[in-house]
């Protein structure tokens, strides 16, 4: 389990770095192409949008892993350590539910609709399933991270 997690973390952060770098290059190219070559590129706008969707939703799994998502800890801070731990388990179970139901199942249904009957993007005319694929991918990663958090012994996270 642990080596797999280490590998996943590494792969995910590499992918995120590449996605953000690609967004920057893409939009810079768009500005350049409009003012330097005077022929605006119709594709870069769409590519940049799709890359943002990918990095945003995939990054959400990374942010969940690093515990960076915003939350309200006013009430739970009043509880004893034992109850805090119990509530924390419940939170991970809820995240697991959301990622499996909405992102994996809902995302796969959405992909299925884009494949058959088929839906294509307006500029590049790529199948929209490629865009929607980030949902089940990120959802599965979140599920893995949620399970990892659930099975991490209590001592380790203090």
């Amino acid at each position: 389990m642990i080596p797999l997690l280490v590998w996943l973390d590494k792969a995910l952060s590499r992918l995120l770095v590449m996605l953000v770098a690609a967004i920057v290059i893409c939009v810079c190219w768009q500005v350049l192409s409009r003012y330097v070559t005077h022929t605006p590129s119709a594709y870069t706008e769409e590519i940049a949008r799709f890359l943002l969707i990918w990095s945003g939703i995939l990054g959400a799994a990374y942010a969940y892993r690093t515990g960076a998502h915003l939350g309200l800890d006013l009430l739970v801070n009043q509880f004893s350590t034992l109850w805090r731990r119990r509530i924390e388990m419940l939170v991970h179970i809820l995240v697991l539910m959301f990622s499996l139901l909405v992102m994996v199942v809902g995302g796969i249904c959405l992909m299925a609709l884009a494949i058959d009957p088929g839906q294509y993007s307006s500029a590049m005319e790529i199948n929209m399933a490629w865009v929607y694929a980030v949902l089940p991918l990120s959802g599965s990663l979140m599920a893995v991270y949620a399970l990892a958090a659930l099975f991490t012994p209590f001592e380790e996270d203090q």
Binding site: S13, L16, V17, L19, V20, A21, I23, V24, V27, C28, Q30, V31, Y35, E45, A48, R49, L52, I53, S55, G56, I57, L58, G59, A60, Y62, A63, Y64, T66, A68, H69, L70, G71, L72, D73, L74, L75, V76, I87, E88, L90, V91, L94, V95, M97, F98, L101, V102, M103, V105, G106, G107, C109, L110, L113, V131, Y132, V134, L135
Partner: protein, 434 residues
């Protein structure tokens, strides 16, 4: 379902106090509400579709850009040069260092989209500096905390972009230009309070710098000032859109930090990009689920019901706007700005519009109001960072913060009841036609 609005709110609040991350609280509450009137599988698929569709916007691309340029500049030694620059021009006034603190925060806000970044960048130098010169440390922390929020309305501003998306199409360029005047007004109001405070406390006045030093400091800050002009001028003149201004800011700050100031190495670049992905995706996840939430709100006609309830309280727009402001101050006390904007824009914008307020005016009011919440207890990210940078506690910072809150509230009231403060500049720039 008549009660769907209450169920949405109830589930959301329950999950929130259980410390479920806000984005998942919104997502799960939306899912529960959807299941009341939509079948299981279509509900799951609709929620998934709203998440992706909520992010499918070119305008949102500006957010990672301004986050990235902010991260680069936070590590790039730009804050210090802005402080030196402000010192050269207003350091000799009564309460000079406090005024420099406000001015530096405002200037930094003009190149950064994050108030937290401003607090740590300016505060980590200014708070010790003020203490050294005899100022009270808690007062110094309060000044940094309050003035860091001016960058929320002064562009570049991620929160204004988020509002533009949530409102369904207010021009980001117009919003950006609209924010300058209110931001500068807050800055001036805070400076006035600081000057009075410094006078009554008898804080020392520093001597004016020789003209050669003023020139030297201006020259050294010039590259950073150029970025402010680049962002502002580019948007006003229409050479590029807000998103493209963001891309330019990234390239420019990279050149500045790697080439000119040489404070970021090439190997640091990937950690900068990863940090950007993380910060951005927290916001993106919030936007994604909020887009699903505002969809189910519309589907169940909830904003309409709330509008009728609010308009039923009074037929005086002045009173309703006051109620809205007080309500938002309460929300801001507990909730971070991004989720608050995403949740309350679809609910309150229809009310504001039925009172004859324009979406642009409402957006500036909303963001200014929630800015106060950023530096108010119990939950305020800027307040937390300010206290940690200033090595003090929330309880100690509150007394000196009170007059600063009053100044911010005073400007908020002006912005609320005088539409021209937010609408005049963008109309002049030809970016806005209402």
């Amino acid at each position: 379902m008549e009660y769907s609005g209450l169920i949405l709110l109830g589930v959301f609040l329950l999950l929130l106090v259980l410390h479920v991350p806000i984005s998942f609280s919104i997502g799960l509450a939306t899912l529960v509400t959807m299941l009341l009137s939509i079948d299981f599988m279509p509900a799951l698929t609709t929620l998934a579709q709203r998440m992706v569709d909520g992010l499918n916007s070119f305008a949102l691309l500006a957010i990672p850009f301004f986050v990235l340029s902010g991260v680069i500049m936070g590590r790039g030694g730009i804050a210090r040069r802005l402080i030196d620059f402000a010192m050269a021009y207003i350091g000799m006034l009564p309460g000079g260092l406090a005024l420099v603190n406000v001015a530096a925060c405002t200037l930094f806000g003009g190149i950064s989209g994050s108030a937290v970044a401003t607090t740590s960048a300016i505060g980590s130098f200014m708070i010790p500096e003020m203490e050294k010169k005899g100022y009270d440390r808690h007062f110094a922390t309060a000044v940094t905390t309050a003035s860091a929020t001016t960058g929320m309305v002064i562009p570049p501003s991620n929160i204004l972009i988020i509002f533009a998306i949530a409102s369904g199409g207010v021009s980001i360029s117009a919003l950006f230009v609209a924010g300058y005047l209110p931001g500068i007004l807050v800055s001036l109001a805070l400076m006035t309070v600081c000057a009075i405070f410094a006078k009554t406390r008898g804080y020392p006045v520093i001597a004016a710098l020789p003209i050669s030093e003023v020139v030297k400091r201006t020259w050294s800050a010039l590259p950073a000032l150029v970025l402010i002009v680049l962002v502002m001028g580019g948007i006003i003149s229409g050479i590029f859109t807000a998103t493209e201004a963001g891309a330019i800011a990234v390239v420019y700050s990279l050149i500045l930090a790697m080439g000119v100031y040489r404070q970021i190495g090439r190997q640091e670049l990937s950690s900068v990009l990863l940090k950007t992905a993380e910060v951005t995706s927290i916001v993106m996840m919030l936007i994604a689920v909020s887009s699903a939430m505002s969809w189910i709100l519309a589907y169940e006609n909830i904003p309409e019901v709330i509008t009728q309830v609010l308009l039923g309280i009074s037929d005086n727009p002045i009173i309703i706007l006051l109620i809205i402001n007080l309500m938002l101050l309460f929300v801001g006390a507990f909730m971070d700005m991004t989720p608050a904007v995403l949740i309350f824009t679809p609910i309150l914008l229809p009310v504001a519009e039925s009172l004859g307020m324009t979406p642009l005016h409402f957006g500036i009011m909303l963001v200014m109001n929630l800015s106060i919440g950023l530096c108010s207890p119990p939950v305020g990210s800027v307040l937390f960072v300010g206290c940690s940078v200033g090595k003090t506690s929330i309880a100690k910072v509150i007394p000196p913060l009170l007059p600063l809150y009053a100044a911010m509230f005073f400007v908020l009231m002006i912005v609320t009841y005088v539409p021209g403060v937010s609408e005049w500049l963008p109309t002049m720039a030809g970016l806005y036609n209402q």
